[in-house]
Amino acid sequence: MSALISPPVSGGAGPLVGRLLRSRLAAALTTPHGVDRYLERLNPMWAAHEVRARVVSVHRETSGTDSAPVATLTLQPTSTWRGHRAGQHVLVGVELPGSAKRHTRAFSISSAASAPGERFTLTIRAHVEGQVSSYLVREAQPGTLLHLSQAQGEFTLVESPATPTISRLLFITGGSGITPAMSMVRTLLRDGYDGHAGRKVTFLHFARSPEDQIFADELAAIAAADNGVDVHLRYGDQLFSEFELRRLVPDFRDTDTWLCGPAGLVELVKNAYADPASRELSPRLRMEFFKPAVARAAAPGEEVAGEVSFTRSGATAAATGASLLEQAEELGLKPEFGCRMGICFSCTRTKTAGTVRNVLTGEESSLPDEEIRICVTAAAGDCHIDL
């Protein structure tokens, strides 16, 4: 695991150059395009503001016979990387060969908390039809360039490793949901955490099969070591049960808990954390979802059915097949528009989830966080529009 804890690398350019590139002078000289628009032409790993990364190595995590292989990518970010707290994720932009389109997806960071400019890892499962995850797992090579955001998200470890303030930590994860929890446990152990003052860590993970279990060796080593971390791995039809959880962590509802996994697991755990009387969810439970509620699209030729949600205003309506602009206006919203025929881009909005159909081309799309022109786009099922 030492590769995960690499010393901070000094970016290609020294700190003085970095300060110069980020200066107001540099901005004024490169206006209106900005410094990065020039640097990227010279070397994609030079950046003053943006973050990019090169893949340093690709490590296959599972045996490889399964249909959804998992790989860990070690990334060397540009010196602009500000580091991350355990549990955070990063938006990764990938230009897929053949289309030149950049697709952006979120991935949790699996390595321990990183310092500015420091290497970190992503652990990714290749979904059967997943465009980005398949590419990253199957085709990414050392040297592949990725576009990144800074680390983001509040699903983080609040505990200061040196002075733990809370009695116990509990992680409940399923499938690829293990990654943020792994980052937290790795951070704790790297920074010398031990549970001998009664501050135990319980790690409960659900995987489809032992062959499907990622980080198996490391988890076994953690379980065997004398460090106060209990590891419980469950496979196949060993579903989550409240009864079992109570046996492992009797006061689980009052224990700081991080939950990340598929929808089924999340539902079961949420039920367990709801107060039996008031049905209120324990505030100690923190959750992260990897998958937004995916909407069902109408099959071609089928009647459009679904709900359009304008998430900013909270307005919703049944999908009628009319353009989203018209639907929004019917609800009394006043989105910006110009030509109303798809040429001026005034009405561009982000569709955060769901399926839409371009009324000019008939093309359907279910990509998350996609920019659409709402004057020539209609809902083709449930969809969420940032409006």
């Binding site: 002078l25 004024a28 000289l29 206006t31 209106p32 395009h33 628009r37 020039y38 990227e40 032409r41 932009g93 230009e95 060969p97 053949g98 289309s99 030149a100 389109k101 950049r102 697709h103 952006t104 110009g338 030509c339 025929m341 798809g342 040429i343 001026c344 881009f345 005034s346 561009t348 000019l360 081309t361 920019e371």
Partner: protein, 381 residues
């Protein structure tokens, strides 16, 4: 197919005798063309754009650097910087801000984030150009690009002694074109005529001032200052480069919209327009410039103004290939396809600027250059 023509005789004449059905069919054909290119967009378009951007950046850096060579460096410096500014404005800025490369998902080439190297804020230009000009192309009274609110370019614009200065205004607009474009949105002529209130412009000032300040500081303070004792030379060189870009951009744009044979429209004629009519108006209201690859690159492919107006959001590098088919469609429908070499189009524009400085002028219908009448056979061809 019915031979019934459009209800208004004027419109019928202007639309070259096409029936409503024929116009719809025209729209369908153009939609199909558009769809074919859309489906084919990909790596080649991205690679082309990146190559142009790299060339532009190199030209800019070379230009800025050559100013350090006194005497011998000055002229090449101005040349490099002029080319850089032209590429930045035409093949990159204009086209990226049309959303032509939004499909790449690259924030560097996203129409909502891009801004160009002129004093006109991209945000403001996208409204007046992408929306107003491209939606209401050549509708007198709605498209403020007809004469830019300064010139009389169409017989339908009422004459006034002010227009005696037409040639002079055109010359000034050419010289200060980027400023003209920046101030375009303030609609000064509408304020003078009382159609717009001065206070309506208030929201535009902060963006405008910010952009002007940044552009001026860069070209007229910082880069000259960085060349030390050569300050005056660098200052002058930057001014000349901006001037060259202005003159070039003005000429390309005027050739695309104002040569003889370009039709204009009234609000009544276009009141109940269909998609087919919109296409037809774009075709009749634009003109191309013939030329080689360099001409197309330096004009941002606005040498294919007709194709640009039909398909403003398709990457401009596709216009030459689209032109072949658009021209063929025009022939089949008996529609004019207005094109000529740069000097021909310029001369034609020049004559128009002079002619309309004086009262009158015939409301001329664009000459028919294809077959005189459209028959079922010619459409089926």
């Amino acid at each position: 197919m019915s031979t019934e023509t459009l209800s208004t005789p004027l419109a019928d004449e202007k639309y070259h005798g096409l029936t409503a059905e024929q116009i719809e069919q025209l729209g369908t054909e153009l939609d199909a063309l558009r769809q074919r290119v859309l489906a084919d967009l990909g790596e080649a378009d991205a690679a082309y754009l990146r190559k142009v951007v790299t060339t532009q950046r190199k030209m800019e850096i070379a230009g800025r650097a050559l100013f350090y060579l006194p005497v011998v460096g000055w002229l090449p410096a101005v040349a490099c910087l002029s080319v850089s500014k032209i590429l930045d404005n035409m093949e990159i800025g204009h086209n990226v801000m049309h959303g032509q490369y939004d499909f790449l998902g690259d924030p560097a080439f996203n129409s909502r984030m891009f801004d160009w190297d002129t004093v006109c804020p991209g945000e403001q230009w996208k409204y007046s150009h992408n929306y107003i000009h491209h939606t209401f192309t050549n509708i007198v009274g709605k498209d403020r690009d007809v004469g830019y609110g300064i010139l009389r370019m169409d017989p339908d614009q009422k004459w006034h002694p002010y227009y005696l200065g037409n040639p002079l205004y055109a010359f000034l607009l050419m010289t200060f074109f980027e400023w003209g474009v920046a101030l375009h949105d303030l609609e000064v002529e509408n304020i003078v005529s009382g159609k717009r209130k001065l206070s309506d412009n208030k929201p535009l000032y902060p963006g405008l001032i910010r952009k002007i300040r940044r552009q001026a500081v860069k070209d007229y303070v910082l880069f000259p200052a960085l060349t030390g004792p050569l300050f005056p030379l660098t200052f002058a060189g930057n001014a000349v480069a901006n001037l060259v870009r202005n003159v070039w951009a003005f000429n390309i744009i005027f050739c695309g919209h104002f040569p003889a044979g370009v039709a204009s429209f009234s609000e009544e004629e276009t009141a109940n327009e269909t998609r087919g009519h919109w296409y037809l108006r774009q075709m009749l209201g634009s003109a191309n410039i013939k030329g080689g690859k360099l001409m197309h690159l330096m004009s941002g492919n606005l040498s294919h103004q007709i194709e640009h107006h039909l398909f403003p959001d398709l990457p401009a590098r596709r216009y030459p290939e689209l032109a072949v088919e658009v021209q063929e469609i025009c022939e089949r429908y008996g529609l004019p396809y207005n094109t000529g070499r740069l000097h021909q189009q310029l001369w034609s524009v020049f004559k128009k600027i002079c002619r309309y400085s004086l009262p009158g002028g015939d409301a001329k219908v664009a000459p028919v250059r294809g077959p005189g009448t459209v028959t079922e056979d010619s459409l089926a061809a």
